[in-house]
Symmetry: C2
Subunit: 404 residues, 2 copies
């Protein structure tokens, strides 16, 4: 009789965003006249930029003719895209990354969930708290997290690094030594980040203790301050300890187009074994390439026209971020993030729990956000608003909040 992977049974029941969805739907059904503004989930709202649309039309046409048809893509991704990535995201910033260290994928969510597969099951993972749920859940499924404590909402074998206002959202080196450290910078959900010097300390720490850093840089396009690294490979020694995950979802609005990539440097080794070769094997066996049309769309992100259009798109969202941040401050809230990231993290007022504030905001202002506690116990008492709405809605949402 076949048996199942019983690690799945350990996963706590419902997923944050489905709980939110259910609550919002119930409220809307009970109050059909209310105009709810959603600043919850991190999905974008602006359309794909014209230069990218043009590239996709061209690629679609190519697929319609035998002479220009494209079948199976190269395992790592097309060279035209990997070269554009290397030139623009790395060489232009002085980072040493080669095209055969770039693995094109269907998105950073898949990569961030899959990357743990090439590591041993008894590795100890460390995550920031609060944290993007996929890092932990994918490790739960792999049996790497021990047992779940419902009261503390933590796993026995996961090292949590609290990031709160008390430590300025800068994680401290944990007491127990981790093997794999997940860092998402600029951070989802807090919208805060580290300076390059602070990141360098983490790279040095990882090299010192023999840990690998899984570095999720999905929000790097939103960095506005000079002393913040866009890539971990701006730090010395990162090629020996870090894997970097990148997304096209937030810089180019590809949440529904699906494209990302992962950099695994050839210098990253466990003994003699190259993690680059392992990921290549994983990629070649359990994945079959991102669509040709989508890879051409990715290439257009790096064209002159694409870059100019996306700069405007990022500026549009960052104007929303400023609107939210300034509006909340005016209303007396304590707020974080929103300078190098499209997320604003606020302290709930009057000692409300995150979910109490969720209900309050939904019912009194008809605005949907995300309860901080949904991202981990240290998120309790915090709340996330995203800058990915449209500007008019964002302004209106803040007017409602200010009027409370």
């Amino acid at each position: 009789m076949f048996q199942i992977n019983d690690n799945y049974q350990k996963l706590p029941g419902s997923y944050l965003f489905s709980t939110i969805g259910k609550k919002v739907n119930a409220y809307q059904q009970a109050n059909p006249d209310k105009n709810i503004i959603r600043l919850g989930i991190g999905d974008v709202t602006q359309p794909i930029a014209p230069a990218i649309i043009e590239a996709m039309h061209k690629a679609v046409d190519e697929m319609g003719h035998a002479e220009t048809f494209h079948g199976y893509a190269p395992d790592l991704g097309y060279e035209f895209l990997r070269k554009a990535i290397v030139e623009n995201d790395y060489k232009a910033r002085g980072c040493e990354v080669e095209a055969d260290e770039v693995f094109v994928s269907d998105g950073a969510k898949s990569d961030s969930a899959n990357i743990q597969e090439i590591f041993a099951q008894n590795n100890r993972i460390a995550v920031c708290d609060p944290v993007y749920p996929v890092y932990v859940d994918s490790n739960v499924m792999a049996g790497r997290t021990g047992t779940y404590d419902k009261n503390t909402e933590t796993w026995s074998d996961v090292i949590y690094m609290p990031c709160t206002a008390e430590n300025n959202f800068v994680p401290e080196f944990p007491k127990e030594t981790p093997d794999m450290i997940y860092l998402c910078l600029p951070n989802n959900p807090t919208g805060t980040t580290l300076t390059k010097d602070q990141l360098q300390e983490w790279v040095d720490y990882a090299n010192r203790v023999g840990a690998v850093i899984i570095y999720d840089a999905a929000y790097e396009a939103y960095i506005s301050e000079d002393n913040v690294a866009h890539s971990i490979y701006e730090c010395k020694g990162a090629r020996n300890c870090a894997i970097e995950l990148r997304s096209f979802s937030k810089n180019a609005g590809f949440t529904g187009v699906r494209l990302g990539f992962t950099v695994v440097p050839k210098d990253l080794k466990c003994g003699d074994v190259s993690l680059n070769a392992m990921w290549a094997r994983r990629h070649g066996t359990k994945f079959n390439g991102a669509p040709y049309i989508v890879q051409r769309a990715g290439e257009a992100v790096y064209s002159e026209a694409g870059k100019a259009q996306l700069k405007e798109q990022v500026a549009y969202y960052m104007k929303n971020a400023k609107t939210i941040k300034d509006g909340l401050k005016d209303a007396g809230y304590t707020v974080f993030g929103g300078v190098n990231a499209p997320y604003i993290w606020l302290k709930t007022p009057d000692q409300m729990t995150s979910w109490e504030f969720f209900d309050y905001l939904l019912e009194k202002a008809n605005v949907v956000g995300t309860p901080g506690s949904g991202f981990g116990p240290s998120g309790e008492g915090y709340f996330r608003l995203t800058a990915f709405g449209n500007y008019e809605n964002t302004v209106q949402a803040l007017e409602r909040i200010k009027a409370l």
Copy 2:
């Protein structure tokens, strides 16, 4: 110090198609004047059908405007696609499959590699021999296959079911009881298949011993005989024991477009645990949906125009299959497959090994095929040619082979 998943170190060195690629490149470089015809890898050559191209252009346009832009897709896939799948692939054939049992993905290769993740590590897998390498390799990576014997080219914990001319390519129930049975029908690489009655016996067997069947139906569009099932759910009891994988790569030429789906019936359970719910959780955590544009392309596969155009495309490839099969017969070869599948499986002449015949065909006829032994030890002495080339090349290749 972090450790790696050392199952990866057990994988034998080089991948079949990269070895072939290297040999072909070396030959071409040494003989730049030779016109090599490739009937090796299972990639298609015909362009995407007009109805699908039109649907993709329309979807690209939608992505370019805020009112019709699509961000994150629903976890299972868009309802428009899941409904089209259910109506056309299942209800039309009298199979009971509901839309919430269909999980849209980026392709059957990913699904066939990922599906093992929801099963326990100590499950025993059974595969046909020869076999599509991904089934075994993904289980190697998960630590489910024991140790590799270089001499026999087999894994200690894998149950092999030889499929050769001796048993008419019909696998026999294995002596040891498996927990997970991989069946690819119509078969890659042999191009043969089972009758519906023979498949029913496998379903009954699986239900009797408590095994799950992972049923890869990527080639169902090529079935031409009435007594062959297009879906395993045509068999009684399959909803209790079978997961079905489907691809758009071969019926619609999506090898570079990337789309597939997996059916996990709600009746498939391990004790109280629904595998449908487990796969939903896996899909929601480690994947983020197929591109909107690609899902619209998939929908167009089921439009009236799409169906008519793809019927022609399949007929085009099957004409190639007939050309290959008849040509080989004329030349005195013993051939199998090619009736319900786009693959022809031939017995190598003069007791040649599969690789000897590969070299012979490359050097004497400048035709590339795939050595049967690359798919498993029972493939030794066989050789695969695919019908996915263009017609003119296929005719020419056969003329060369006949002239040998």
